[in-house]
Symmetry: D2
Subunit: 353 residues, 4 copies
């Protein structure tokens, strides 16, 4: 354990990549929210493999089924369970990795922790696990919509190719790398293809923002808004860093440059990324995630087998050469879960009138 | 709420900077650990203001008193409460800020969240709150010591001055910026003084590592080791970004460069920073935190008062021109709390023989 | 929320009586436990409706499907999800109750809390919800078996008919009321039939015990063993009281009668019910639950409809005239969940050698 | 661990009976509540030893000090810490029990669990621990007062002497056993004295109720209102049973007798004790607690020492011959904590308008 995320609005996920199914229980969803199954499915389709020329050729339908918590199209306040059956998996693809540790994967650490591992497709450590997060995040988005809050993300860098801000959000779903900059998108696609052509993979950065936030979200002192976002993002496999607001750029800045001054119209800048002292200040929350290159590559790599003997591995399965485009909806989902939880928790902050 | 951190090894803190006292209850400390009060005091002294020429001139003794949970020098398994009385505070320093919002501070957001704020020195949002974390972290370090695990951190960058790795850890406490590179330390001190001389402040980066870890720590999927570290670090006021292992550098890397290959002797590199799939792999865990420049500066800044009217603020109190040296022990404390908790949680991972 | 129970060994349930399915995610199950699906099914069959002449005539197959967390018959340490599809329900039976509040049911309170309710069969407040608990409890029992711990319960009273201790545990599953006293069983069955014949229902008491416990389970001060048992049992619909050890009988006792003296062979009595200061003392833990008469009865009852108008209700569906026999396995399941969790939590109590 | 109680409104306590201090952090108190320190002190005085002829002769001032979370007399939303220094304790009274296990006490189980125990006065297992609960409960009561909710309890039985309902609540604090029936109070006092005169002790029952509740409090399915009350009450040392509403009396009842019918004026009876399906229905919540006779008695009792050798113990310290009068305010405090938490949690139940 722990396969739960959130305090009041809480997602609990289960499922291995090659078991019968994945799924999630979303507990704490307030009653009275229209739950649009088609929207949940659409979000899942954004994460689905096989969706484009730069993603894995694996086909997974990821058809969602709502099992509980919704009555006549509306949330009842009881837990919403969503089931995602696994399709016909190629377990045989993984027979050869049952006996060794794939570099960059969790094979070694799961075995060390549990003394046993489901080696088929990485089992619970598979990226497929994020499908359940996207389903939960879709429910969170439906809840946030009631309060006028939305989350969006895009690929802002792949390899050395950077998207030029300000991002053109309406273009993100129109290019297969989900770039916020259509001009950069072309180069990003080339970079991914070039890496794949070399039996390799490539990393990148996801940038995102949360819009429509009221001031006051975030629980001092340990459950600061940014602390929960960081927790959420680094819980996604392959993410190695996170920034809020100006992030690592603050290291070289002066206080006079970094402070966001105010006048009667509000804040005059947003270096803080919408969060002060761990609490939203009403500005847009901005964040960035560093995504590592896919560890599954076709090039030969040194590793050891279960008996500790040296061996060489060439991974021949179907894998995304770059994780960034498919992590975009996962990052949005995790951010939505954080905000939904904080919105509920904030209701307890004051004596009510 | 939430002023608790951790699941089994849990710290709950309280206290405002100008109230009677701060403190912490550390719950879940296993019985049988020698609790060395002098060690806790030494850790607090590392965080204490007024300790050097680059820190604030405020004097706080931060004398700790253990109130419970220790009997004849050994932990009993019951909660360890530690009290830190506040000394003679200059509340009058803050009279002028009662009526306005300091740029870069949590004044605005606390008021929006709670409808009331303790404006004396930032109240609960003061950096002084971290003293309780350091006390709790010291208890965690004493526990980790029993398992041969240790945590260390240093200033790796201040402004544009970077410490050159590998860090010389034995030098860290010998220079007043806690640099891991004695040569860089001199330039860092100059950079801090230069900023202060200009009525300004400066940011930086803290780097750290966790040594002696067994493989297996970290709870998939949401409480991954790195996710909890990120949560811990971004819960420290002024931290705007976090990296584990190669961090944001992974964006430009290929899988063949980033994967840590293995041979019978173990991992051949440590790009992952000691964590795979959210679980420690037995290597050193490495991390970095981006620290913003101190928001309290003596230069004039635009802001608004409680009535929304424009005003200009020059902060004349005693403030650190750079937070980095004093955040070093706080980062260590938070990392120690994360590891202590995961160590206990990991005991539940397997059927015991 | 909250649909989760437990800290480390945690069950999260979902499902309405007339929705597509019920189920549970059991998180925190240690790896390496043989997970016998047939055993889980057998436990579910003990709770299943339609199993005997004194239970409801409704037929539900309650066929369980394990969706995750088990690989080659053994737990992997990842969450075990269990699905129970709902069969062909008679939703039409409930059309007439959509507009009114059944006395003794949660119809009124769910509507007041959530502003909406799934009125089909009580929705989430249905006794059917306990099927997911029994499935989770079965997993807990499999885990406890590895440590030699077992839980058993029986009907000790139905109406005015009391079972005579000591209970004959091997007889419990041989009579349809699950009495611990075969002689009393006959009279209990008559009492149930007599109540049903009068279009009425009848209450009773479940008694149980936990065997094979090591000393040391229970977390002071709020999560005492007995406090968690009481929480667990009163979370079962229809339970109105709980006793541990001598229970309410202690009110009339002297300290000299109630204290369990010791000699070198151990405790000389067990008035405490195996728990001292909230921690198991190595003796058998004993408990009792008071179960109210089934609220659904065929006799006419005064109530109001959604518009607040007076009406009379005669419930004509298929209902158990006495809940006791079917609550027996539910009580066992909840006790098993408590013990499994405490067993894992106790591993964190001491520095390990 | 666990020394915390509650989800949003959470009390975390610490302290041993003969250590430097006890105390509590109350986290999650909404901002804007007048915090009346004199009221907290008054509640503590109700629990204080040495208050009457039927309580222990020990003198403890139990003077409370608020350390944080209150600014200008009002809660700020940050954690409220309350400190209770221990006075001059007679540790020497306990020298003789360091080497043996007192019957009915937690000496044996603490040692088995932790391998070490603070034997002075029972350490953490001392009844003195409840002082911190009363302080926290007083804060909860101040919060509930804002919503018109109150809690009250009294002694309803001591030994075989029963108070006759309806209780005369205005009389409770006027007699030293806190009986709800002044006539019974005299006999109760005699019963306590008679037990004490025989070097013995006596048990009893505390009855209580919660007034002014809105419908809707309680979180299905595991954190039902009654389940949390049961958890709360059985976490008090010496409590062996709990009832809500008609409690164990339901065992002998028919559904037609036990169901609370409704008419347009509301519920026509309150057998349910104000809770249906785990959710408050707007009626008064009623509860009862069984309190065991004080385990510390002056009569000789068989026990064993740390080496497992048989010995005889006569406890000569200053102990209450009956715990009931002093548990009354503790039970109220725990109930108030439950209600405060549920009130906050309920704010998350619905989409807000």
């Amino acid at each position: 354990m722990n396969n739960s995320f959130g305090t009041l609005f809480r997602a609990t996920t289960f499922g291995e990549s090659h078991g019968p199914a994945l799924g999630v229980i979303v507990d704490g969803v307030p009653s009275g929210i229209p739950v649009d199954e088609a929207f949940i499915q659409k979000e899942l389709d954004r994460r689905r493999p096989g969706q484009s020329a730069v993603s894995t050729a694996r086909k997974e339908s990821d058809r969602c089924e709502i099992l509980s918590g919704v009555f006549e199209g509306v949330s009842t306040g009881t837990p919403i369970a969503i089931l995602l059956r696994n399709g016909d998996q190629h377990s045989s693809d993984y027979a050869n990795i049952a006996e060794l540790f794939r570099p960059g994967h969790a094979d070694y650490t799961y075995l060390k922790k549990y003394g046993i591992r489901d080696y088929r497709g990485g089992g619970r450590s598979s990226g497929r696990e994020t499908a359940a997060r996207v389903a939960a995040g879709a429910v969170a988005k439906l809840f946030l919509r009631e309060s006028g809050i939305s989350v969006r993300a895009c690929a802002s860098q792949i390899g050395k190719v950077k998207a030029n801000p300000p991002f053109r959000w309406e273009e993100v779903e129109k290019n297969i790398v989900r770039s916020g900059d259509p001009a950069a998108a072309e180069k990003m696609i080339l970079a991914v293809r070039e890496a794949a052509g070399n039996k390799d993979s490539i990393g990148g950065i996801v940038s995102g923002e949360i819009l429509g936030l009221p001031p006051g979200l975030g629980e001092p002192v340990f459950d600061k808004f940014d602390a929960l976002l960081a927790h959420a993002f680094l819980s996604i496999g392959g993410v190695k860093g996170v920034e809020v607001g100006d992030g690592f750029a603050v290291a070289e800045k002066r206080g006079s440059e970094n402070n966001d001054e105010m006048d009667p119209s509000g804040f005059l800048s947003n270096h803080a990324g919408g969060i002060l002292g761990g609490i939203s200040n009403g500005n847009t929350v901005t964040f960035r995630l560093a995504v590592k290159p896919t560890p599954s590559i076709a090039s030969p790599q040194k590793t050891v087998n279960l008996r500790g003997e040296e061996t060489v591995l060439e991974i021949v399965g179907r894998h995304d050469p770059c994780l960034v485009p498919r992590i975009v909806p996962v990052a949005e989902a995790m951010a939505a879960l954080v905000v939904a939880d904080l919105l509920l928790r904030n209701r307890a902050a004051r004596v009510q009138d």
